[in-house]
Amino acid sequence: MTEVPEEVKKGREIVKEIERGSWPNFLKEAEKTRYPVDLYGASLYLKRDLFTTGGYVSVPGAPTGILMRVTSRPDIGESTNVVRVLLPSGNFITSDMMDKFCDFADKFGVGMVHALSTGQNVEIPGIPKDRIREFVTEFRDAGLEIGSTGDAFRNTTTCVGATLCEYANMDTMGMRDEFYDKFNDYAKYPTFPHKMKLKISGCPLDCARTTQKADIGVVGSWVGAPIVDNKMISSMPKEKVDAIVNSCPTLAISRENGGISIKGEDCIQCMKCLRNGEGAIKPGDKKTFLIYVGGKLRGKKGPLTSKLLMRVDTKEEVMEKLEKIVEAFTDHAARKERLGDLIFRIGMKGLLELLEMKLQALNVKDLRTNVFYPVSEEERQEIANDLAGRGK
């Protein structure tokens, strides 16, 4: 019997400690698999990561690559390469499909599934490097798809949307399906300067966090006032209705003969009143899609929330614009520059120029506080003309 290294012994003690407590425990799970818990324990004891990357290995059927994980202590634990699996929209997984994942994990991996990754994929870890081709072939033959790696569109994620939620202004899951019908090549072939992510939320509550971590975010919304069922409102206790009226950030809601009335031009679709309304207030009828750009977390500049690019009326326009944004990104981003960093560098105005659009008030969070900007001769002329046209 070989001697157990010190760091493994100490590591095991640490792991035992972490396994305490009532919450579902990833280490208790790992213990039931062939995952190298000792390697992990040792890294906790040593306080250093014991993996290095092996990059992405591109194989037939998975051109964006499979993520290679190389152990720096082969004496303690094995490399644990991972295959990322694209799921049906909304992350719905039938029991049959999940069983298949488990079968593959048992056969090729370490008997572990990662459900879910934060990018909303299932991952199957622990595939030995020399079995990857085999894995990919069998897996795809079983009707399943690998993806979400490399400099391509990562997995497109959505909230559950119209499938389960009354706030939904659109069929988010259907839109994802359409995205893959139309743009699968963007997701499959790594031709971008850096990764891209598309996320879709059915309403401004933004359960898919499109405004925070999507290069391109689509949010279903509407224009004007929400729809109010004043019969229901009048049967509510006074304090409840007061709460609805008072919580509107733009003060768009007022009392009106027992019910309420909402000034459409003041509504910013913040969803507050709908949340407080217990079904009596619904999204408006005039649907619109908000397209956001440039959210991401690291890149060059650290976390950036996304910016509103425009509102469009139809799904078709969303898809068109998406194509244009991708073109602008691939043509103009530097290597390993996320869309958000490109916008940081060239400005929102710069991006809009690439898209042949004009900067509008809706693109802007705050206005300038100094006059140190250029105004060209044409711009002076344009402004003078615009203002001259204004009625007396």
Partner: protein
């Protein structure tokens, strides 16, 4: 060649339970039933129930457990289930009785059911040391400890509002840190150094890895190539260390750790999407139980719970009382790294709104 799917399996209708299909797009309201069970009501009065159960912090399961979960989906939920944005499990069930029975079985399997409204909704973590090459902190074990410490808020005690927690092992923030009400963000505080092993690396590839272009190719006197790191540019992200075995952090056990940020949220309600703000710039890694980290997180939650008005997310609360009072009330020490690097402008901005 067999027919292979291009892209993910679809159309999605093939994967949702039958009894949901004709309600899609017709939902009119929902009602919280007992903890973790939502009743969804469609325009014709038809009802379905979603049951939400907590997951492991980083979503890792043995196939043994996963097969048990699948079996529950078969038994109660039309042989399908979903995972949420918060990495939780969600089952869609046709009746309240079934939902309750499912809840019972999930709890017996060890999965708390709850996590809606004024509760802890989710805890998420990236791979950390568990699988990744870039970690400065082992987010999964940190989050596991936080989960234990705050579990009662998932299914028992109420909070002022929704609470989400995420941890990431490094600035890549794969765990969704910065976005959540409380986040753990791995951080390296040393500049990596180049060892002689660098000769085994793909130098050009490594240089490309650096997000800020701090890595420069150099020709050696003997004509060989090497690389250099320009310290003034380096943001310590650690990508190069993960990519090339010849670049190392010298003493990660001392210099690696994590920052804590608070106040991230995506929802448009109130002032709209916002990123977390760093309230503690560095805490050393102290497994197994990360006492310092847990104390800070508990302090934040306790202070918020005590001081916030009902409905105030952490961001809303701090927005009302201001940072000075946050530090006063929580008793947390303030460190200069917390200051916004753009705050020196002294330019005050109007409040942001969503979609503006």
């Amino acid at each position: 060649m067999t027919e292979r799917p291009e892209g993910p399996p679809r159309p999605y209708l093939n994967f949702v339970p039958d009894y949901v299909k004709d309600s899609i797009g017709k939902w009119v309201t929902h009602k919280m039933q007992e903890g973790g069970i939502i009743e969804h009501i469609d325009s014709r009065g038809k009802k379905v129930y979603t049951v939400k159960a907590a997951s492991t912090p980083n979503g890792r399961y043995s196939t043994i457990t996963m097969r048990q979960i699948t079996a529950l989906a078969r038994k109660y939920a039309g042989a399908t289930m979903r995972f949420t944005q918060g990495l939780n499990m969600e089952f869609i069930v046709g009746s309240l009785e079934k939902a309750k029975a499912l809840k019972q079985e999930l709890k017996e399997l060890g999965f708390p059911v709850g996590g809606w409204k004024e509760h802890l909704w989710s805890l998420t973590s990236c791979a950390g040391y568990f699988h990744c090459a870039l970690a400065a902190t082992d987010a999964p074990s940190v989050i596991q400890n936080i989960a234990n410490s705050l579990s009662r808020y998932f299914d028992e005690e109420e909070l002022p509002a929704k609470l989400t927690i995420a941890g990431s092992g490094c600035p890549s923030s794969c765990g969704g840190s910065f976005l959540t009400d409380i986040s753990i963000n791995g951080i390296h505080t040393e500049i990596p150094v180049i060892t002689e092993n660098v000769k085994n690396c793909d130098l050009q590839g490594t240089a490309f890895t650096c997000p800020v272009g701090a890595i420069q190719l150099k020709t050696l006197p003997d004509g060989g190539k090497t690389i250099e790191i320009r310290e003034s540019l380096c943001i310590g992200c650690g990508l190069c260390v993960g990519a090339c075995g010849g670049i190392i952090f010298q003493t990660p056990e001392k210099t690696d750790g994590h920052a804590i940020s608070i106040g991230g949220k995506a929802s448009a309600s109130r002032y709209g999407t916002t990123l977390g703000r760093i309230v503690v710039p560095f805490i050393p890694n102290e497994p197994p139980h990360y006492e310092k980290t847990i104390r800070v997180v508990e302090t934040i939650v306790e202070t918020w719970k005590k001081d916030a008005k009902k409905g105030e997310r952490i961001a809303d609360w701090v927005d009302r009382i201001g940072w000075e009072k946050f530090f006063e009330k929580s008793g947390l020490p303030f460190y200069p790294q917390s200051m916004d690097y753009l705050d020196i402008r002294g330019i005050t901005t109007l409040r942001d709104g969503s979609g503006r």
